[in-house]
Symmetry: D2
Subunit: 407 residues, 4 copies
């Protein structure tokens, strides 16, 4: 069936096999009048691209995206935005010997079990290459969110058991996360992980890790009960990423061991007259958060909801909370606090160390996956986590326009 479309109003369809002619996406449902330039997309694709060092592959992905439709004189038309990204790495000879072998930890066999056939070159559609279309679409969503003063920041929180400082800790440095190839928010920890990765590469091994993500400026009210709650949609979006094995919001799995009185975030008394000014959708961003200068350049004309005051119904007070163990979600609806979640990724399944597997005839085979693969997906997953988050939020932001009689 057709599982390549994401979203309800702000909808994205991606296409493309890893070593076919092209990958890309069609964004349908982006409102008309949004400023959008090719550089908005290129800058996001650049972040996703394998770095020259660190945990990444050295495959050259020179993503020369092209906007085929939906944008006219620098602004969206309200019609579908098709974005084309040509594949440059066509050297499929590399994969000939994998034609009849099922690589452990990969989807080679499950694709055949499902469809009866697969494109064995570079993993076809199950390749991480597929996420290029998501990132391109996410760039459009980020532009829409930026107009509303909503910004998404993801970073590498842990690789191979080495943990970066957490948000709120003294040495947590989000600007640093944009500087190093690993997207680790600490230069010292990044160095430490780099060393570990070199070691693993020599050993023919790979590593798992955790990506953390925080959204600031999010107004309260987003998320559609009961099946399309904001956390349900984010969870679905994250688990749609290749190597993701888990997600948690706020206190997450640790919540299971808290008491009720520890888990509840206490609402703070507020002055009704002034409270609206602090509201999400128009507020200040914590240090390090907010616009980053890539595709998410800020709002220029006031945004979708011109004034933050319009976000909450007039008779409802703006609540603030003494803590954020909920991770910004109550009953599946954003509560105005930062949306916070963490995604666990398994190690890259392609390792050069010898492994046992079977071929198409069911016969035992020994396999060393050649080529220069990533050691850990996290550094590159950072931009994809942001992109998928942006797609969810752009869609919910528009959906929220329809839930009240008087918007």
């Amino acid at each position: 069936m057709s599982g390549n479309t994401f979203g309800k109003i702000f909808k994205v369809t991606t296409f493309g096999e890893s070593h076919g002619p092209a990958t890309g996406c069609v964004v349908d449902g982006c409102p008309a009048g949004l400023e959008l330039e090719l550089t908005d997309i290129l800058s996001e694709l650049a972040r996703r691209r394998p770095g020259s060092g660190g945990a990444s592959t050295t495959r050259k992905e020179d993503d020369n995206a092209e906007i085929l439709s939906g944008v006219f004189e620098g602004k969206t038309l309200g019609t579908p935005i098709a974005i084309l990204i040509r594949n440059k790495s066509h050297n499929s000879r590399d994969y000939d010997e994998l034609k009849d072998i099922y690589r452990p930890g990969h989807a080679d066999w499950t694709y055949e079990a499902k469809y009866g056939r697969r494109d064995h070159n570079g993993g076809g559609r199950s390749s991480a290459r597929e996420t290029a279309g998501r990132v391109a679409a996410g760039a459009v969503a980020k532009r829409l969110l930026a107009e509303n003063n909503i910004f998404i920041r993801a970073w590498t929180a842990e690789i191979a058991g080495i943990t970066a400082p957490g948000q709120g800790q003294a040495d947590f440095d989000l600007d640093e996360a944009e500087k190093n190839n690993l997207h680790v928010p600490s230069a010292a920890v990044a160095a430490c992980i780099t060393e570990k990765i070199a070691e693993l590469r020599l050993a023919g091994e790979s590593a798992g890790g955790i990506v953390a993500c925080t959204v600031t400026g999010l107004p309260a009210g987003l998320g559609e009960p009961v099946f399309e709650k904001i956390d349900a949609l984010i969870a679905g979006a994250m688990l749609s990423l290749g190597a993701a094995k888990g997600i948690e919001f706020g206190s997450g799995f640790a919540s299971a061991r808290l008491l009720g009185s520890e888990s509840n975030d206490t609402p703070l008394p507020c002055d009704l007259t002034n409270s609206k000014k602090i509201s999400g959708g128009g507020g200040e961003h914590p240090a390090g958060f907010g616009p980053r200068g890539f595709g998410d350049r800020g709002s220029r004309e006031g945004g979708l909801f011109p004034k933050a005051d319009n976000v909450l119904p007039p008779h409802v007070p703006q609540l603030l909370f003494a803590s954020n163990r909920a991770g910004g979600v109550l009953g599946g609806i954003s509560n105005g606090a930062p949306l916070e979640f963490r995604v666990a990724f398994k190690p890259v399944p392609s390792i050069s160390k010898q492994q046992r597997t079977v071929d198409r005839s069911g016969v035992l085979r020994e396999l060393c996956v050649k080529g220069r693969h990533d050691i850990c997906v996290c550094p590159r997953a950072v931009s994809v986590v942001e992109a998928m988050t942006a797609l969810v939020l752009a869609d919910l932001l528009l959906q929220q326009r329809c839930v009240r009689l008087f918007p």
Copy 2:
């Protein structure tokens, strides 16, 4: 917007506020010809119902469900199956004093922030009561899965930090999980947790916990890349549950600390001629798993895919794996191994201990939530976790009929 429908082919729409006239569901897309009786639904609703002891509330939920349509002479017609469950607890006077107060950890304020208004009686649509419709729909899905020899078993894996034995451990007893009110797969641990819960109740506290779920008999090939992968859909389904804060598949968060060679599950050599007989969809179930004698009574006429041989394309070998760190999913597609995941739940936010909060005027209020609330959601979440899993799998099973030219 309209977030009350789940699924694409096997679709469910739920309705109903906690203390309104009724809750229920409409199941659309269930194939014609499925045997379905009211008792299939009642038996699942009975499992969800608060127990007389243990961690549960003592609210009387005498669920007298009625099938309004879609079933004729004991079999489904292929038309929508509407199921009505009248609410018996209408004593909404209980909630009058909560009309203007936002309970901490609840969705009271976020519903108002979103819709501008809410039904304050018992949480309205954000109440756990809403899951009755899900469980009723899940019962229909379970019947469809049972026809295909697919069975779902969830249990309480942990409450308040007290962990039950895990699957594979000597003292893991799934039959026991059906006997005690806590759905804990060990009588000893159940006793221990019961004691802890009594303690928490006295202290006016509540507890979080973890529910584990395993699906056996699942054929390889289910899940729709790239956005509707089987784990993505399950994750979305689970995080749509009220108090869920995280989910992990297979090794889950622990995967982040494994090496590649540890994380990959090794495929086993197989004899092509015989392998199909072991396949999911027609295989044996591990001890304790399989049909439970509730609504998931087994297949009587051969099931959707009459022979397991038909599930895999004729030229694709049936693979088995030496381990299941993947939790039964590769590339978002089931690999024939049991589907395994764990869901973390936060403590019930309604506690009788005094808490600080605010009211509609933003003024500080002290609150003790009265009434007999659950201490931990896990025991009752077990049936809802199963129901949501059944909804995902029934839908994917039907979707899989459409992905190959020659089914």
Copy 3:
């Protein structure tokens, strides 16, 4: 599959077999805060109910609808609105002899060809009874449209070749269409048709006819290119009605014989400063059109778009046209002129005259359909045509909130 849901944002799912326990609907996506009372629904159901005379059956359909959810203290909550209508005519013994016979012109055989089985009592889901759920849902949609000063009026334009006066003709009397059971906008023509129907009834025959529909107050801009144009959605909605065999908009089939210069509606010069005041969404309704005093009581608080000025972007002039051959649609988008279309219905297939058909064994059978069936569907179709139109427009009205960056 699941074809029982209609709409994208304002979504309706209907359920129920003709002689099962109940029919009804779930409306999901109706904005919160809409005033809605049970009488709004009952009054629409009353219009659909078979009259005591005229072309209608005498089956007693005493529709005691019940709102099960989604409405609290007289206003919608933003949650699903479930409406239950119990079936009173359970006397299914009437249909026993039809169990194994395929009635000509009915869906008896095609339901079996599709699903492998059917509920033979009164046509099951293929019965006109199914439309009760649509009319109930349409009543909710009409309330939403009335808040925006949009009103829908359908009437019987032709039965058995006898045509009523057309809109714009001197003797066209829309108030009369509400008075007579046939919904014919002329007392004289109604009398004439009544006579013809009596004749047909005696002869054991039935008749076809045409229903016309006009929507006034519709703002320009509704309809979603390219597949969900306003006329595409209306056409799909109308052909989903049992006996509908054709639809045409504006000049319709006659357009095929017009010249380009005759077919184009000429835009009129306008004074930019004042033009917005005449706009759809806030304008005057032609004599006889507008609110009718049933469920579509008018707007009380200013409607979804509080001022008509807000409907058009500030820099776009309000256009008026010298004619309306387009029927209110240009490029699939409403142009502010009245939406006008006509639907052709075939004769009721149940006739008492003897017909030849076959039974389940393929054997020739003679059949006289007993019972008191409608002679022509048109009089009852009027309310269903209005309901389906309301569902399309309510959905498009909400969708239009999402198409521009600055609404």
Copy 4:
């Protein structure tokens, strides 16, 4: 909102403005294993392309389509099939003077009323150019249908009041319809219309017309009650075409004047043992119908339902009918008889004759639309009518796989 996707399982998203860089489509949900070559698409695009004479424009549309994904070694992968068609006519200088003028009968103003802006070059997305993506997608659908022995034939039935012979009439010649540029099934009538068109061109006028379409080989059972009936979906598909103003099935509007006994198609007695062999899905096609040698080359491997016997449930007899006034549809479900419908198109709104209109300031303007436009859309609409029909049927064919417990 996002109205650029069509279908539920076999889904198509089109993109592209008339004079932007490209148009195209993404087909998601096409089963894996379908033989598909670029020429299948090119041959359909060639039929849609403006002819050198007749009623068509002389704009050069040299459609060099490219398949970007989803096809591997000549067969579909089950992944999205993206098709790119570069626009060659970029000479947008032609349209500069139309920038501020609203052309009568066009969507210029309604696009601005909706989105606040438009691409004025060649009509942007409201141009007939948009249908290229539909025809490309339709070519894929036709391949799937051909595998099931289902074939679609449309032709020009009437232009400017000159009617071609109807199906069943002696001089009806479907092969001729493929030979002349007008797609008229009679050389004599084609000559007559050609003359009329020359006349209209001189007069600066345009003409409307009617396209007829017949589908043969369609099995009984397709169509999803109640909102996605086969006729409802076809009607929605046809009215989504630019100039379509009406549609009718079988006897259509003439049904309104038939008696019940005339309107009902009489089922014929059948020999149960042999009847299945005549069934749709595997039967013979009437003379002139069936495969045409373009993209709809026939089945090579037995088709989706390898034997026609499999289409009907084993206990249901195959019915044939003495007539086809229903046009192949009963209760919204195909009845195995040919699906027959007619679509009315208004005259092309672009005429060189002087017209009055207004500009962006609301001021009266005189306009002669320059350039070489089609005189009548029908000849080119023929291929688009076929394409949209193919999209509906491919989707319903796959949906039908899911409606019974035992397929």
